[in-house]
Symmetry: C2
Subunit: 438 residues, 2 copies
C-alpha cells in the first residue's frame, strides 16, 4: 500500500480521553476511530491486524477438528427464555423490539442458539462429538465503556461450543481446546498463561482463563516461570489419544498459576523462588466445561448406545479477538509506539523513501515495493525524514527499509528491526531476503 494514497491517518497528539497505552496508540496509529461510546470503526491497518488474528485463531480451531459456522448477531428472545437466561441476564444484554414488537437481542454469547441448531440435526450419539465455532460481533452494554477495544460494547469474539456423548469424551475435548489455545497465543507472538477459573455451581477443575502479561492488566497473576519456556507448536501431543491429552494436561496444571482472586500462599511458597513470576494479566480467553446445563434446560437429547436418550455434555471456549488487538499492544510497545509481532502486524515492513523525487531513491523503493507483494507499506509522502521515522515507529512495522540518496546510488538499504532497534546496511536483495524470511 502506498501511504500517499492510503487511509492510514496517524495523529501527532495524544488523545486526551485515552487512559491506557493501547487505546492511545490504536488511535494515534490510525487503527480505529470511535463512532459511538464503546463502538469503533476499524480503519485499513486495524482491520488487517484483526484479520491476521482471526486467521490464526481459525487455523488452530480447524486443526483440532472444530468446524466454522456463522451465527447472526441478533437473536430471538424466545431462545433465551427456553434456557431461562433471558430474565437472569442483566442490563448488559441489549434488548430490542422489531417493528412487529417481537423481542430480539444482540447476542452477547451463543450457547442457546448453537444448542438449538445442534438439536435440529444431530439425533444419535454416533454423530458426536461436534465442535462448532464462529467469529462474530457481539454486544455487551457495558455501563462505562473504556480503554478502547479492551472494554468496548461491540466486540469481535471467537466462541466455540463442544458436544460430547460422555463426560470422559468432554474432558478430552476440553484438553484438546486448551492445547489449541496455547498454540494460538504462541503464534500470535504473546505468552498467555492459563489460570484456574471459577466453575460456579458445576464444580470441578475444568475452567481456565488465559491471561496475557502486561502492566495494565486487570488482575494480579502469580505463576511458575516454567510455563514460559514451553514450545507448544512442536510438542508431539497426539490430540486423538486420551492418554496423550491427559499427560499434557496433568503436566501443564502441575505448575502453579493463579490470579489474585485464587492465589494460594501455601502452594506459592512451594514454587522455587527463582521460578516465581508475579505481575498483572489481561484476560484474552476462557475455556469452560459446563456439562448438560443447556442441553437439559432446552431439552436437547440424542439416542445413546443403549437406545436410551442422553443429554450431550457441553463446553464453551472464547477468545476475545478485538480485545486481543489492544492486549497485544499492552504487552508489546515502547515510547515510540507499537511493536507488532510479525504474525499480526498490518504490514511486514515499511519502505521509507527519504528523498521522494530523487530518481535513484524512487527507483530503488519501487523495486522493493514490487517485491513485497502488498506486504509492505511504502511511505512515498514528501514529508521530512523525521516524520517518516516517527510514523513508522508509531505504526510498529516489524521492519523499516530506509532508502536515502547515498544508499540508493549503490543499491543499499538501511534495515531497522523495530523490536530491537538493530540496524543493518545491506544490498537491496539481502535486505529483502531478511525481511521476507527467505
Amino acid at each position: 500500500m502506498r501511504l500517499s494514497r492510503s487511509f492510514l491517518p496517524t495523529l501527532k497528539e495524544t488523545p486526551s480521553d485515552a487512559q491506557i497505552p493501547s487505546h492511545r496508540l490504536m488511535l494515534r496509529a490510525g487503527l480505529i476511530r470511535q463512532t459511538a461510546s464503546g463502538i469503533y470503526a476499524w480503519l485499513p491497518a486495524g482491520l488487517r491486524v484483526l484479520r491476521n488474528i482471526s486467521q490464526i485463531v481459525r487455523e488452530e480451531q480447524d486443526r483440532i477438528g472444530a468446524q466454522e459456522v456463522l451465527m447472526p448477531t441478533l437473536q430471538s428472545a424466545e431462545l433465551w427464555k427456553r434456557s431461562g437466561r433471558y430474565d437472569a441476564y442483566g442490563p448488559e444484554m441489549l434488548r430490542i423490539q422489531d417493528r412487529h414488537e417481537r423481542d430480539l437481542l444482540y447476542g452477547p454469547t451463543n450457547e442457546e442458539m448453537i444448542t438449538d441448531l445442534l438439536g435440529q440435526s444431530v439425533k444419535s450419539y454416533r454423530e458426536l462429538p461436534q465442535m462448532l465455532y464462529h467469529i462474530q460481533w457481539k454486544f455487551r452494554d457495558e455501563v462505562r465503556p473504556r480503554f478502547g477495544v479492551m472494554r468496548g460494547r461491540e466486540f469481535l469474539m471467537k466462541d466455540a461450543y463442544s458436544f460430547d456423548a460422555s463426560y470422559d469424551a468432554a474432558v478430552d475435548t476440553y484438553r484438546r481446546m486448551m492445547l489449541a489455545y496455547l498454540r494460538t497465543f504462541q503464534r500470535l507472538g504473546v505468552r498467555a498463561v492459563p489460570m484456574v477459573a471459577d466453575t460456579g455451581p458445576i464444580g470441578g477443575d475444568l475452567s481456565h482463563e488465559f491471561l496475557i502479561l502486561a502492566p495494565t492488566g486487570e488482575s494480579g497473576v502469580f505463576y511458575d516461570g516454567a510455563l514460559e519456556s514451553k514450545d507448544w507448536l512442536s510438542d508431539p501431543i497426539d490430540v486423538d489419544d486420551s492418554a496423550s491429552l491427559a499427560g499434557f494436561f496433568n503436566t501443564l496444571t502441575s505448575y502453579y498459576a493463579a490470579t489474585d482472586e485464587k492465589h494460594d500462599e501455601t502452594a506459592w511458597a512451594a514454587v522455587p523462588e527463582e521460578k516465581r513470576r508475579e505481575g498483572r494479566g489481561i484476560e484474552v480467553g476462557h475455556i469452560f466445561y459446563f456439562g448438560t446445563k443447556y442441553t437439559k434446560s432446552m431439552d436437547i437429547s440424542v439416542t445413546g448406545p443403549d437406545g436410551a436418550l442422553l443429554y450431550p455434555e457441553m463446553g464453551s471456549y472464547g477468545i476475545g479477538v478485538s480485545r486481543l488487538v489492544g492486549a497485544i499492544i499492552e504487552a508489546s510497545h515502547d515510547d515510540g509506539g507499537i511493536v507488532w509481532p510479525e504474525s499480526v502486524a498490518p504490514f511486514r515492513a515499511a519502505i521509507l523513501n527519504l528523498k521522494v523525487g530523487d530518481a535513484e531513491c524512487d527507483a530503488l523503493c519501487e523495486r522493493l515495493y514490487d517485491a513485497g507483494d502488498e506486504q509492505f507499506l511504502y511511505d512515498d509522502r514528501t514529508d521530512r525524514a523525521g516524520a517518516k521515522f516517527a510514523d513508522a515507529d508509531l505504526m510498529g512495522h516489524p521492519w523499516q527499509m530506509i532508502v536515502g540518496p547515498r544508499g540508493a546510488k549503490t543499491g543499499t538499504v538501511e534495515l531497522k528491526r523495530r523490536a530491537t532497534g538493530e540496524r543493518f546496511e545491506l544490498p537491496a536483495e539481502e535486505a529483502l531476503a531478511k525481511v521476507l524470511g527467505r
Copy 2:
C-alpha cells in the same frame, strides 16, 4: 472434510415454507438454518460459499484501489440526525435504545458514518480520491421477510463509498467501479447485466443496478445479447486513464438494457431481433453517484486547489453478498439440486466411497482426499450409494469422484462433472489433475 464427522445436515424432505428453489435448496443442502424471522445461521458449507464470494468481491475492490475498513453494525442516531435521514428513514430501520436511553440503530447502510470518518482525517483535496469499502452485516426490518436469504432482515453486504475532488473525477471513479462489478460477477460464474436505474432528484445517468438472470427474478429485464459475450477479465482497459474508462463506459451503455420499469419500446425495436433477450432478473448490485448530498448536509469539506473549501463528490456502491448465495442458486440449479460455479463452491469435489470398509476403496479414497488439501468433501459414511449420489447432486459440488470396488482394484475413478453430467473413467492421478485444473 470428512462427511461422517461434519456438521453438514442435508434434508430429504422439501421444507414446506420455502417458496423458491434457492431457499429450498439452501435448507436441504445444509447451508443455512433459520434462527428467527428473516435471520439465518450459516452452517459450515454455507459459510464457505459466503466467504468465497466475499473474497472475490474483496479482490476486485482492492484491484481498483479501494481500501477495506470495517464499520460497526450499530450506529449512533446522532449521525443520522446530522444528515436528516433519521426521521426520513421508515420502519425498516431497526431503532434501539441502550441502557442509558441513548438512541442507536442497526445500520442499514453507512453513508453518514463513512462521511464522518473521512471528514475527521482528510482535510485537503490532495488526499483525494478515497475509496473505502467494508463487508459487514446490515439489518433492514422487512415487514414480511421471505425467500430465505434473498429477502432476509440481517444480511451481508459489501458497500463502498468514494470521495472525489471534482465531478469529472467522480465520473471516472464511477466507471472504474462499474468495471470492477462486471469483473466480480464474471468471476462468480454468473452474468449480471447493468441496467440504468433511478437517480432520484440528482438526475444524470450515473446509477446502475446489476441483475442476475433467473426465472424467479423480481423484475422483468430486456437487453441486447451482445452484453452476454464480453470477457471483462481480459479486457485491457486502463483504469487510471479517463479516456480509456470513457471508451469502456460509452460502449457498454450503448447497448440496450432495461428493467420493465424503465423499458422503452422504441429503443427496444432498434435492437436486432436475434439479439433481443427478455427474461427476469434478481438485483445483486447497485452503483450510484450522488454528488455532495451527504458532504453538504453533514458539512464535511476539504481545502481545494484554490484555497477555498470544497465538498467532496460522493458515490456509493453495493453488492448483496448473502443475497448472492441465493441468486447464484436461482441462476444455477436443476432438479437434483445446486450446480455451483467452481469459484464459489464450498468444495471443489466430493469423493464418494461406494463401499466403506473395503480396503481398496478406503485406500484409494484416502489417497484422493490427501491430494485435495481440504478442497474435497469425503463421503465416508456407510450409507448406500444412492443416498451418496443424491446428496452430492443436492450439494452441487462441481465434481464427483466416485470410487467403487471394481475401479479401486485398478486405481480407477469415475469422474462426474455436475454441471453437464459428463462422466469419465480415469486413473486416479488423471482424475485429480482434471479436478484440480492442473
